[in-house]
Amino acid sequence: MTHPDLQDLMRRASDDLAAPETERLVAHAVRAGSRRRSRRRALEVLSVTAVVGLVAGGALLLTGGDNPQTLAPTTSATRSAATPVTSPDPQDLVDKALATYDPGSATRVPDGPSIDTTRRLASDTALEQTLTRLLDGRAKNLTLTHVLGSGMGGHQADTSTDGRSLSFAVNGAAAQVMMGRWDGYDAVGVDDSGAPIAVVEAQSACEAPQKGTPQECAESPAGWYTVGHPNAGGEPGGQELWVDLYTADGWVVRVHSLNTVGEKVGAPVTEGTALDEAESLALASSPDWFVAS
């Protein structure tokens, strides 16, 4: 291979790529895109009493009516006054307030909204006891580890260990419950135009528009949740299930199940995943993972 032109090289390499089914792609884009347009318009209508402002330095001030909930600012903060508004789209307010998207650095975690909560995770012992009780003693080989505080995300500079992960087996098949926060830097990203976007509600956090791949979510009494059946890979018959629940006060609980002893490890040991969808949602929804702050 001697051709020196990288551009030509790349174009030659991709010249006869298998063409996708254009009609199908376009038709689906119109259908799914229409749903998003409708959802955005619905948000604008429903949110006329919600007010969002941004305190310099990254804290988010969230108010509703006459009950402001002031959140702790980061350093070098100057507080902006929250004024009830009746017409602006609150998402527009968030976007405007986020002047530029901040990716942070190798040593600095970027800022993000802080969602108020009156709960914290229970002690390690209490979490283990809760799992054992909720699964009627079926959970074996239980191991608890401290993991990233950001429940679903991760940043190169994030060294927090405020999250919890309980790994166990049910009838030999592996499962895991992870708990963390969905607010902070993980709630910030960019939308499809490249403009900064922040999510401040459980539904939006679940759908995660700031992460580029929207999720289909459903509402439950405990919050908004999404269900996934990723390709488990490994040997034939491998199954994988995850249920992620996002609460209004900023917590995310993921229940992850396999039908093998480990991820892509060996043949299936159970017919279905260690926990089914209903069990997983019930586990994720339990208030017993938390205690009052």
Partner: protein, 171 residues
Amino acid sequence: MTRRHQRDQEFTAFATARIPALTRTAWMLTGDSQKAEDLVQETLIKVYAKWGPRIDNPAAYAQTTLTRTWISQLRRRSSHETPVADLPERTRRDTDHSLRVTLAAALDRLDPLDRAIVVLRHLDDVSTEDTAQQVGLSSGAVRNRLKRALARLRVDLDLPFHEMLNDGVPS
């Protein structure tokens, strides 16, 4: 003709024309034909959701959307997923098949952001400033990353790349 019908017609015409270029870029970024198609699909959904007179340059908007979507998807990729350079099912020439595999493997060894920068700068001919805006870095960072990526590709692909090393990259 209703406004909706007109919008759909305009979008369909645009998307049909742009899909080949988007697919090419998506494949270069993902190294996998199925993932590339998924990425193009998601991009088109987002473009349609915002389709309207506010989009001055739909082609540039779609390209930015594709890049941003891919970068965002990287954050959600679980730790056990490993990108694999998938081989397209239909190839006509053995020479270009080998070329594609080699190039895909070389790109896959780059840091994902570096890969995006190389693809934008050298496949899509995007300026350094526009590339910086798309990937969320400064122009200086883009230049440094490009220089590093080209040095890596130079070794992996056994190519001189003299002109690329000097192309907009401070020595």
